[in-house]
């Protein structure tokens, strides 16, 4: 097989890379020639909220250098995707940022729709906006409440996790799943919102603001909390841009880049909302930006629910959207389409497309190259975490260990998305 032929050719590449790697210097002594302590933080440390390893060189309590190791839950999604039909890739996207799976799912569907040239009806677009904003709230709630836990405030976490549970119940009512949602289909949503889902949503929209206000009043001006987060792990706007920050972390540094505003998708241009920005990109700013984004997401959901248009909840795209099951039993064409879609035998046009959505923690991009077959020729996920997590050593150096945990927590690094 050809595999072995090229293996011969690649050995020198690996050797060269290993030689380069040996040249990296890790400090072993401080200025007074005292030996530094090597601390292995992770990979399974309860305070890292995920499987990250950082090998820290510590001078007493102060961090001198940090070397992150990632890839502990790498599952080769990009390779697997090269063998799967488009609709089967949705379940891979669930497992990237598992705190806001609907955004990943629907972002992927929008990428495929862009490639196929399918226009989704307004109702489905509004339904998607509602689900994506719910996912953003769930994502931000986790990040901010866990930041509270890491600074010693457990109560707020318990308050908002009840609300997150209710969001998951709404997911359940809409798509049947809670965590890995597999929500929506190429061409629209898999089913209309049921009356129960609408009721749950309205009830939640009425109850949640009070809890959120309570959460904010517990943290925003809390002396102990502010002492732990103000001016901890700041990053300048220039540095953040160079490191490829996007999402709340970039906005906390003062850059108002939001994909929803700059390149609106799924009718985001119909809604009125503000983009909160911070000033110096420290942990407090990241916390405050996320809190404000929760309020803005609530605004969007309220507008979308009030304006929710009547009409079909999926596009008329029989090649890609499964026919109703009753039709499949009675109708020949429906049976053929059903079979071809389920077996993934429908070819896609040749082309390449990049589409990005505002994920829970930044610009979530899908770069899809199609050679006209049933599967992508190449699929690359732009995972925001993967790109901005490389700034972590720089942000953590010079702080204490307890601050390093708080910085990591406020960056909202999700292991599934980091490692893909």
């Amino acid at each position: 097989m050809a595999v072995n032929d090229t293996l011969e050719g690649t050995h020198h590449i690996i050797e060269e890379a290993r030689e380069q790697q040996d040249k990296i210097l890790i400090p072993l002594h401080n200025d007074f020639n005292q030996e530094l302590t090597t601390l292995n933080l992770g990979p399974t440390h309860p305070a890292t909220h995920g499987i990250f390893q950082n090998i820290l060189q510590m001078d007493g309590e102060r961090i001198v250098s940090g070397v992150p190791t990632i890839g502990y839950i790498h599952r080769a999604f990009e390779k697997i995707a090269e063998r799967r039909p488009f609709y089967q890739i949705t379940t891979l996207t669930d497992r990237m940022n598992y705190c806001s799976s609907p955004i990943n799912n629907l972002g992927w569907h929008m990428t495929v729709e862009k490639m196929l040239g399918i226009t989704v009806p307004k109702r489905a677009q509004y339904m998607r906006v509602i689900m994506m904003e719910l996912a953003r709230i769930a994502d931000h709630l986790i990040c901010n409440s866990i930041l509270g836990v890491d600074t010693g405030a457990f109560t707020g976490f318990l308050y908002v996790f009840q609300e997150r549970e209710k969001i998951y119940e709404i997911y359940e009512e809409v798509c049947g799943a809670r965590l890995t949602t597999n929500m929506g289909r190429v061409g629209g949503m898999e089913r209309d919102f049921t009356p129960v889902a609408i009721d749950k949503l309205r009830k939640w929209l009425k109850e949640f603001p009070a809890v959120m206000k309570e959460f904010e009043s517990m943290f925003n001006r809390n002396r102990i909390f502010m002492d732990r987060v103000v001016n901890v792990g700041p990053i300048s706007a220039e540095k953040a841009l160079s490191y490829g920050f996007t999402g709340p972390n970039l906005r906390a540094a003062g850059v108002d880049y939001d994909v929803r505003v700059m390149n609106p998708y799924s009718s985001y241009e119909d809604f009125e909302f503000d983009v909160p920005v911070g000033t110096n990109g420290d942990t407090y700013d990241r916390f405050m930006v996320r809190n404000e984004e929760i309020w803005q997401s609530l605004r969007i959901i309220n507008q979308a629910l009030d304006k929710l248009p009547e009409g079909p909840y999926h596009a008329d795209a029989p090649h890609y959207y499964l026919p109703p099951k009753q039709e499949v039993y009675k109708n020949m064409e429906a049976l053929i389409y059903h079979f071809k879609i389920v077996m993934g035998e429908i070819d896609a046009p040749v082309g390449e497309v990049y589409h990005s959505v505002e994920g829970g923690n930044g610009e979530l991009g899908f770069y899809l190259v199609s050679d006209g077959g049933r599967t992508p020729y190449r699929l690359h996920f732009r995972r925001p975490c993967f790109i901005y997590y490389q700034a972590y050593p720089e942000m953590a150096v010079g702080t204490t260990l307890s601050d390093a945990i708080v910085i990591l927590s406020s960056m909202n690094v999700i292991a599934g998305e980091l490692d893909a």
Binding site: T10, E16, G71, K79, Y257, M262, Y354, R378
Partner: protein, 186 residues
């Protein structure tokens, strides 16, 4: 119903399509900055200007675009490797997506090079974010980035001795016979 070919749609549109105008402006700027012969295969799939250049030029172009005040493509959105085994002498490629956050212009640049000599200049001196993205490309495609500060595997184990995203590595063990499916291709 046959699926519509969406790539054909932009050609029907009139010249006032703002994306077309913007791309024409970007392309004219690229030509004045770096010369017309620097770019080949210029196209606009789905409204995103795409051009192929060479690995000798890529560092200068991306550095120049970051500094250029008129276009200011200062944000490296993403980069990834790609493998076309049938293009002899051009088997491997790198694809860069640049974005101007001030003017909302995107540009996709591609370079191709032989798999036997996969050496490309690093961008980590221009964009700090290139560091891990290049490590990822090295990890999966075996692209060597000259001048990279820390070129080692990032997601796979360090003692792996092949590059798994190259097309020659099948997803499953190709010698397995118990899962053969002649119709849907295992």
């Amino acid at each position: 119903m046959t699926p519509q070919d969406p790539a054909a749609a932009p050609e029907v549109a009139v010249a006032e399509d703002p994306i077309k105008v913007q791309n024409a402006r970007l392309l004219a700027r690229l030509h004045t900055l770096f010369g017309e012969d620097a770019f080949t295969d210029v196209s606009e799939p789905y409204g995103l200007l795409t051009a192929t250049t060479t690995r000798e030029r890529i560092h200068g172009i991306i550095a120049g675009l970051q500094q250029d005040e008129e276009i200011a493509l200062h944000f490296l959105t993403t980069m990834c490797g790609i493998n076309y085994p049938e293009n002899v002498g051009q088997e491997l490629g790198m694809i860069y997506h640049l974005h101007s956050l001030t003017q909302n212009i995107r540009l996709r640049l591609k370079i191709f090079f032989p798999v036997a000599d996969p050496v490309v200049p690093t961008l980590s001196d221009i964009h700090l974010s290139a560091n891990w993205m290049e490590r990822e490309a090295y990890d999966f495609y075996g692209v060597i980035f000259t001048g990279h500060p820390n070129l080692m595997r990032i997601l796979n184990v360090e003692d792996m001795d092949y590059f798994p995203m190259r097309k020659e590595y099948p997803l499953e063990d190709g010698t397995r016979e118990d899962k053969t499916d002649l119709f849907f291709g295992r």
